[in-house]
Symmetry: C2
DNA sequence: CCTGTTTGCGCAAACGTTTGCTCTTACAAA
DNA sequence: TTTGTAAGAGCAAACGTTTGCGCAAACAGG
């Protein structure tokens, strides 16, 4: 640490360290000349305050912890991007950890981040949302210094856990309604990671739309998945094995939809002529598939930004909220009227 | 901070804080019973050491800064994933920042991370590699406490800047050789972000292979790009405008290749029948395009892991190295023999 | 029994800030 | 002149650790 510190400046400026500190933060009771002199000196020496020393005394690290399931998932990456930008804009930094979609690892990571005294915690695709309310350090602390946790795409699970989410149910509902309007009666759903809130909400939206439009509600039409490329790929076979096969399918996310598209192309199943497929998320790549994917947009970057904003507001003492953003269907060409209706 | 500290434990155990500290870190000169008692107490109280206090005194934060161009790029995300895993395995955390492919923002981010006393810096797709050697805090510090910087896919730019990279030149060369063996004589190259080291190396590899195989070396065959989906999309038109159009194209990365594929599908240009395309990176999605993309594999996760390993070794005092990993061609079906050779 | 070494532990300084309190000086009001 | 107040700056404690040094007791060798 041959780094220049506040006392180096103090020595050179012939003042006390406290004066330097106050001058730097614009404390009113420092004369203008001193202030200027100190600022100039600091600039000249290339002084940069030690964030860790600052943290130690103030109890604020200007750091937010973010734990994600897997950065490699385009949806997650996009949200993370939004969060990073908002954090930077607010003078905050992000301590990053991955859970590999593993609940135990997720909690472990969260705890580790707390060791670094992050001011808040953002969890992007939680697999263990209800455990946060029970983390000792999140529970015990007096209300004056509670560490806000904001969960993405999860309902608020406790009084002090915040939530920003998209209305997944209506998103899925919109997609199914659209397919229904195109003439489809037998629509399959590939679900996401079990236990995931967004997965169950999308399923609920699917079921609701199926009911509302009086579509085929056979349970065999909902097929398990985990939101991975492979899921979509493997699912095509089970779709085709159904009797009769569905004419359309709503996928948990774009990734599984893309897997499905690939399988269809490989097996010579024309999309959308023989099978309509719609995804969810509207990741950038979804515009570049063949055919381009009809999908429901999730405001990913905005969700990330909002998450840190909510977190920061919580730090400022605002009560917990769950803010819900809305998406919309983006129509491209992977869904069309069913064969028999043509 | 109503957090339990080392002095709380000390009070309860009727010993001094130093003893607690030493007991916790397994110092030999603490009796076994005391040690056990203290450990038990710590466990019971749910004690977790304050990393920031620790950092302040030891000068080590057990934190690595990582600045990336854009997490949203699948290549970057994959490398980041590898880095995160290796860091976690070593008991390190990652402070994350994004540069948005902007040199000024990149340096600013790096400086900000240094304020948090990161032990090392990893830069994933640098746009300003040569500026690190000049950062005051990286230059001035005595050799005992120099902060290692490892650049990904950049050559070593100074004695104290480390580098882990793939041999991009030979990767590109392999790809072009392969196309040449298939019978292509006129092969285009879509370049990556100008100024990027990997872009120029891949271009060099392309040129070398073109020369070696006596292929058409017209300068019009190398086309500018930035490694984005849009680049590939827009490039198809300029490819087709060439007279005669090339029969194959090597793209800077899979992203641009996928853009190109999409454009081709949309404009009815059959791939690989009318145009062979090969990508670079082998991102997971490249196996799910139509047709599946022939590409050159980059060991992305391994690169991330290696980056943190190199960084940690540097901290342990090993001299700077540049380690180069090797890739290989993964043949799928987006490249085949040219039309006239069939 | 004396000296020398080992074992076990505490004291206190240090890391680089921030901040409540105190102190001095100047200046205005009475 | 006295008193009161405001401005400007310093003292020292505090944040939670780590660690060099010192000290006492125990123990070994002679």
């Amino acid at each position: 640490m041959s780094q220049v510190s506040i006392v180096d400046i103090a020595r050179l400026a012939q003042v006390s360290p406290s004066t330097v500190s106050r001058a730097l933060q614009g404390h009113p009771r420092i004369s203008a000349e001193r202030r200027a002199a100190i600022l100039a000196l600091a600039e000249e020496l290339g002084y940069r305050p030690s964030q860790v020393a600052r943290s130690l005394v103030t109890g604020r690290s200007h750091t937010l912890g973010v734990v994600v399931s897997d950065v490699t998932d385009p949806f997650v990456a996009e949200v993370l991007k939004g969060a990073e930008m908002a954090a930077r804009d607010a003078g905050y930094r992000l301590l990053f950890a991955m859970s590999n979609r593993n609940p135990a690892q997720e909690i472990e990571a969260a705890e580790a981040l707390l060791d670094y005294e992050v001011d808040g915690l953002i969890v992007i695709s939680s697999r263990a949302p209800d455990r946060y309310a029970r983390l000792p350090r999140l529970r015990d602390v007096g209300n004056d210094h509670r560490i806000p946790v904001v969960l993405l795409n999860h309902a608020q699970v406790s009084e002090f856990i915040y939530s920003v989410k998209m209305d997944s149910e209506s998103g899925a509902r919109m997609a199914v309604s659209y397919l229904s309007q195109l003439g489809h009666r037998r629509i399959a759903f590939i679900s996401g990671p079990s236990g995931g809130r967004s997965s169950s909400e999308r399923l609920a939206g699917y079921r609701r739309a199926v009911l509302e439009h009086g579509l085929d509600a056979s349970p065999e039409l909902v097929i398990g998945g985990a939101g991975l490329l492979e899921d979509g790929w493997e699912t095509l076979a089970v779709l085709l094995a159904l009797k009769p096969p569905p004419t359309a399918v709503l996928c948990y996310n774009d990734l599984s939809a893309i897997g499905l598209l690939a399988a269809a192309a490989q097996m010579g199943v024309p999309v959308p002529d023989a099978l309509s497929v719609v995804g969810y998320d509207n990741i950038p790549l979804s515009a570049y598939t063949t055919p381009p994917l009809t999908t429901v947009e999730q405001p990913k970057e905005a969700m990330g930004r909002t998450a840190v904003k909510v977190c920061l507001r919580a730090l400022a003492g605002e009560p917990a909220t769950t803010t819900v953003l809305s998406g919309q269907l983006v129509v491209r060409s992977s869904a069309a009227a069913p064969p028999r209706a043509q």
